[in-house]
Point group: C2
């Protein structure tokens, strides 16, 4: 099946330029993900199924995996939460993650260009990425929080 022609050509081109075949699931995943950043694999699957009718879970993981390898999508795996995906790649931006609900937001690198890119002592590692995650509670969970601001670590991570 030649995939839906309504999808912007740019997506097709990006896939092709990355050496990936253009398939309906891939276009749908990329398109949906662009509109819903920081979605989980499950959310992507649901969203894509709403457009294509049915797509296997495996296909979703394959697409996400292939696109992540090709750097068309970026995978974030916040501790204690399922992985999340976004189409913003290339710029070394960081994330703000809610401990409670997992809501994730982008944060531009605080200290300019590449401040956090080199550890003080690399111990012989070939470092290729500095990942920064700001942990806290999102506005919604702050309001819904049973423990008032007085306590500091009453929560316990899920």
């Amino acid at each position: 099946m030649t995939p839906d022609a309504s999808v912007p050509d740019t997506l097709r081109q990006r896939l092709r330029q990355a050496g990936l075949r253009v398939t309906a699931p891939r276009l749908a995943v990329l398109e949906w993900l662009a509109e819903h950043p920081h979605a989980t694999a499950d959310q992507v699957a649901t969203g894509v199924r709403g457009q294509l009718g049915s797509v296997s879970t495996q296909a979703v993981y394959d697409v996400l995996g292939a696109c992540a390898r090709a750097e068309l999508v970026r995978r974030i795996e916040p501790a204690g939460h399922p992985a999340r995906f976004e189409t913003r790649t290339g710029d070394n931006h960081h994330h703000l993650v809610c401990r409670r609900c997992g809501r994730t937001e982008d944060v531009d690198c605080a200290v300019g260009a590449a401040p956090c890119l080199e550890p003080s002592d690399g111990k012989g590692f070939a470092v290729d990425e500095a990942e920064v995650v700001f942990w806290g509670l999102c506005p919604d969970c702050l309001v819904a929080s049973p423990t008032t601001a007085a306590h500091h670590h009453e929560e316990g991570r899920a």
Copy 2:
């Protein structure tokens, strides 16, 4: 059973001060962990069993969980690898993690005291921690690596 008297009193005191009961599994976990930083729950269980004879997996998770809540141990969960634990808490230090084998090393905060502690735009989140992970290949995996330095992202993340 009154726990083994050979364990340094400081461990007992730390547990008590944290409001936790002093039990053999807890002492053993803390003691073993102090000597083997960045161990996985499974490794902790194995190590502790070597000292106490037998300890349930659940007990190990409970101990680690309780101690993490009391900030006697810190839990690190590098994406794609099982959680790791360490007894160094309080100092906001960061980590160097090997993408391939998961080997984890401590890194002092590169930029001094609290440079990475505040995101440029918090979006209303109540941020309480800035986690920094430097990803790369450890010296051993660098040597064992099939792809020479020429390629850049041929690996694919587990």
